[in-house]
Subunit: 410 residues, 2 copies
Amino acid sequence: GSYIVMKMWNFLEKAWQIGVNDPKKFIHCLKVGIALCFVSLFYYMRPLYDGVGGGNAIWAVMTVVVVFDYTVGSTLYKCGNRVIGTTLAGLLGIGVHWIASHSGERLEPIILQASVFILASATTFSRFIPSVKARFDYGAMIFILTFSLVSVSGYRVDELFELAHQRIATIAIGTALCILVSMLICPVWAGTELHNLTTKNMSKLADSVEGCVEEYFKSVEDEKSASKKIIGVRCVLNSKASEEAMANFAIWEPAHGNFNFGHPWKRYLKVGASMRSCAYCIETLNCTINGADASEIPDFLKNHLSGACTNLSSCCANVVKELANMVKSMRITSTSKVDLLIEDMNTAVQELQDSLKSFPNPSTISTENENVNQSTAETKPIHLMQIVPLLTTTSLLIEIAARIENLVED
Amino acid sequence: GSYIVMKMWNFLEKAWQIGVNDPKKFIHCLKVGIALCFVSLFYYMRPLYDGVGGGNAIWAVMTVVVVFDYTVGSTLYKCGNRVIGTTLAGLLGIGVHWIASHSGERLEPIILQASVFILASATTFSRFIPSVKARFDYGAMIFILTFSLVSVSGYRVDELFELAHQRIATIAIGTALCILVSMLICPVWAGTELHNLTTKNMSKLADSVEGCVEEYFKSVEDEKSASKKIIGVRCVLNSKASEEAMANFAIWEPAHGNFNFGHPWKRYLKVGASMRSCAYCIETLNCTINGADASEIPDFLKNHLSGACTNLSSCCANVVKELANMVKSMRITSTSKVDLLIEDMNTAVQELQDSLKSFPNPSTISTENENVNQSTAETKPIHLMQIVPLLTTTSLLIEIAARIENLVED
């Protein structure tokens, strides 16, 4: 008994924490409640109820439940899809109904069934096409739904017109209410969320580059904060799906805050892809560092490179941080500052290459520590293994920095 | 005019190609059509139509459209969620309605509104909790929908019982039909799809390891096939979301083919994660190879390592291919063969390390090619940069192979 209570309590505490970490989620829940209460007023106020044809008020409630979503963009996307899908399907359904009712009693059900079969199959297929899926997946479902309801229902055409009129009115009421509530009460813009995610990921990337190298050379005291920084890179790796969804929804949003209508949302995806290819490198580097036993490498070799490596990683982090700042504030003017930082980074790369060149010769080491039978010779490749991915990361970072530079025209 | 026609034609051709590449998609579309035609028979056959209370037949059609999905697993997931959500919400709604109708005319709308507000907000919040979202996201939406419809509609409680009875009957008919059609006509099992995706990704991984190294050492004639192999790694990187979705749906599926109920689907996610961490390495290696100008490196250096590298990469590929075969056929017996291949791989690693040790000394090279003023000295780090990520990949591959070995208890 108490075990289950404990589990329940833990579960609720965790759930509560989700909301505390992001109060917008609490607000969203209240918004859903508000929208539903508003729409259910249609049931309580007789004149309103009769105005939309009684039982059809169901469709307003249904629209609110189905369409209301976390961000303004996704709400607008669903509203647009629902309206377009319903209208198209309604018109087509009435047309098919008219044809069927004029072609005799025997042909009527056949025509209706055939039209449902063909249109449902074709629309289902269109949902497999990536470009349609991204923009009209929901609309396609609503189209199939409305079309089969209209064409199958046994009404006469003039009754159908009235029905369609009422249905569209209720859906319009539902969508209008959703749009108003989602845009007026603490709106969560998909575009802003995407923007914030991008800048947050950039600074996580910067932190993890630094943290990774710092942890290896143990120049940092508290290991916990370093490994926490490294975990940040996982977030960058896993944010592809949410980035794409948000960019899709952001297209539907009107101008808000600093974002105009037609803001280049696609660019965020490109930047995201660049960040991810950078994150792959860091993840690899991180695995290598954790895999190889650091204590195996003689300290003097480590110290030889420690300075240049730490310097380089902080230079890289500075470039990415500056880019994050630029994206955050959407300034274009300070490109020169980034250029400066990139130059710093390039000199740091050169420095590291120089210190590699002056690296104690493998043969020299072997003779030096002959007594440590063969172990040093073995550590040599391992050691290089640890240091060279860093170079890889750097060169990639440079490439990425250059690529992002091109993209920073926001 | 003709430009638009051309565009349309291209679009249709592309769409058609999607279906040709995966005929199951065509079949799915036909299945949707069949299910809808079946369910619409309720409208045409008077006795059936009257049996479920006339207008309520709408709910059967709606259920089919909304619930029917590509894989059996997702159809079952939606059916289960819909039934659970509707039943719970219906019972709760009737309860609240009963309380409200017994507490006076003034309190009634307040109680109803308050219950809608509270339950809708709470249920919406539960959808943010990852474990709830994974299993009951759709059910939560249906719960809100049904609850607000029931509690808001102005019926008396005895009428409500009849309504609920009919509603549940129509939904049951819809879900049963969906389940039958999706399971009997060319079923697409989420579990099988996940299984196939995993094995396909494994062989793509193997190909890309080989292709990457082959392309670098140009031991392959047609470059196109090599770069095509490398693209495979992108598929591995991007398949996280679909893997998770399929593993979620696969839980709902009954035993089929070689998969028993309670098949360890979670393991596929672990294997997928290991494969992805491997793919990160390959992607990094690939970037490095493409980034550095291969022509800068003197051929004799390249030839020195070419043999060992190619050997190692094919050993790695063999291990992964064998693992793919094992997963494909779900054999446990041949673990010894994998062990053998891993041993091969380890000796190949040793070999590569040996040839690195006997690598011409940087200082020696510099003196050898003094006339090529400094350029050779500069290429040294670049060259190492290219060769060492391969070692990284290898060591990671070994780690992964060991990890997968533990997992191969399917």
